[in-house]
Symmetry: C2
């Protein structure tokens, strides 16, 4: 795998994969098939957000894909309403891009990038607390509780949206990566943990209107994990996905377009409190 | 499907399926294949618990399977350390059998039976609260909080068991059933929700030492669900599985055998408080 593309624009947005392919080919990155030719392998997944970014005809195209590939870096990932998260929503609140990572006891790393665009809710209707909040690291934890009156208003608003949510077109996208050397079966197990991580942060999830998709990658810079290291990796992977979903929701900004209004969790439940 | 068998006894316990088959055949229950002959369809799953019930050579056999089939009824399911839950453990605490159900807006029902035998923990190490507790119905909620000192002792004990947990042989078994008429694809989606429900009650789950298995059944007494009814079914299914796991843990009783000691959640974290 030479690149992974997460994008908005509904099925139209997959055009951006062509741009990523082109950039990779131009830079000689890909599977060598002889004669100096390479075939870049670029898994791609798209989420429905037409109009939520402001213009239903604004869709990522090949040029944007090329730009994204050229801009790829090892620096910290921008989170919130960026990239595939621009028009993403999460059960009536604004969704977006989130990331999370952790260092395992061996020094190996597992990290997650998510684009949260779910039909299900990210918060416990009883308390307003984010479902995934208890999985945050100590220093990430919120020091503000949802206001009960705000929670009631939120639940009333969501109940009134029931018809819209029934027709929801949702998909949460996850990329999990580790520097341990995994084979395909191990990557499949890792991708399974992405779904467990989603389940702990979003409810319901994996519904008839969700296309929830996870990719799992191994950069192979560290050895093959032994049985215990693999166990530790899987356990940690689900947790970083849960945290990444929470990060996405906490970094999202309230958005209004011609297609509707999606308040952020902070604005709707926490009175706009910032981290 | 004419019966589902959940049993302990590790792979030996699958012998009990033969007894269920025999009972069903004797009662003419099965897939008719002509000439008055039927073939009972009995999916079966087993969990590892050798010795935890008291005697490593005590394993469910065909006679016990026949007895179980004969005893099957529509009355309330016994929960806790019974049946396949006899020797089940949950991350160093006693596991067992739990059930849960809910009525959907159409009047249809979805119910879950689980045998909790997990490598992962059922409680949040930060608070001692059961991971799945917030999914309980209002009248099921506990009015007692884990004692912080008891939580510390529990976490110390679990940390000391790390080597044993590494070698854990675990499997949580789930049966989900609804009276809606589902096809196989819909049953598969329903079984998927069982895994989401497990993920919300057990962490980590689906690890290299878990064989987590879910069966989904449709009794076909009610119509085929429309799109919204299917959505509602899936969302509710995960929740009843989560609740069933919590019920199993709360109904379990502390157990000591030659193979070891497994305190119940109530005894270890709640000072023995009863519901």
């Amino acid at each position: 795998v030479h690149g992974v593309l997460l994008t908005g624009g509904s099925a139209f947005g997959l055009a951006a994969a062509d741009g990523v392919m082109t950039w990779l080919e131009q830079h000689g990155r890909g599977w060598p098939v002889g004669g100096g030719q390479v075939v870049p392998i670029v898994p791609a997944a798209v989420l429905f957000d037409l109009g939520r970014g402001g213009d239903a005809r604004a869709r990522p195209d090949a040029a944007l894909g090329r730009e994204a590939a050229a801009a790829a870096s090892a620096s910290a990932v921008p989170q919130g309403c960026v990239g595939a998260g621009t028009g993403a929503v999460a059960g009536g609140l604004k969704g977006g891009i989130g990331s999370g990572s952790t260092v395992l006891s061996s020094g190996a790393v597992v990290g997650a990038l998510v684009a949260v665009n779910s039909a299900g809710s990210v918060l416990d209707p009883r308390t307003g607390e984010l479902w995934g909040e208890r999985h945050l690291l100590d220093h990430e934890r919120l020091d503000v509780r949802p206001d009960p009156a705000a929670l009631r208003r939120h639940l009333d608003r969501i109940a009134a949206m029931r018809v819209a949510l029934q027709a929801a077109r949702a998909t949460t996208l996850v990329v999990l990566a580790t520097d341990l050397t995994l084979d395909k079966a191990q990557c499949t197990a890792l991708a399974g943990q992405a779904h467990d991580g989603m389940a702990r942060a979003i409810s319901p999830v994996h519904t008839m209107v969700d296309g929830d998709t996870a990719f799992a990658l191994s950069t192979r810079r560290r050895p093959v994990p032994d049985r215990w290291a693999m166990h530790e990796l899987l356990a940690a992977a689900a947790d970083v996905v849960t945290r990444a979903v929470v990060h996405a929701v906490l970094r999202a900004a309230s958005t209004t377009t011609d297609a509707g209004s999606w308040p952020s969790y902070r604005d709707e439940l926490l009175g706009g409190a910032q981290a």
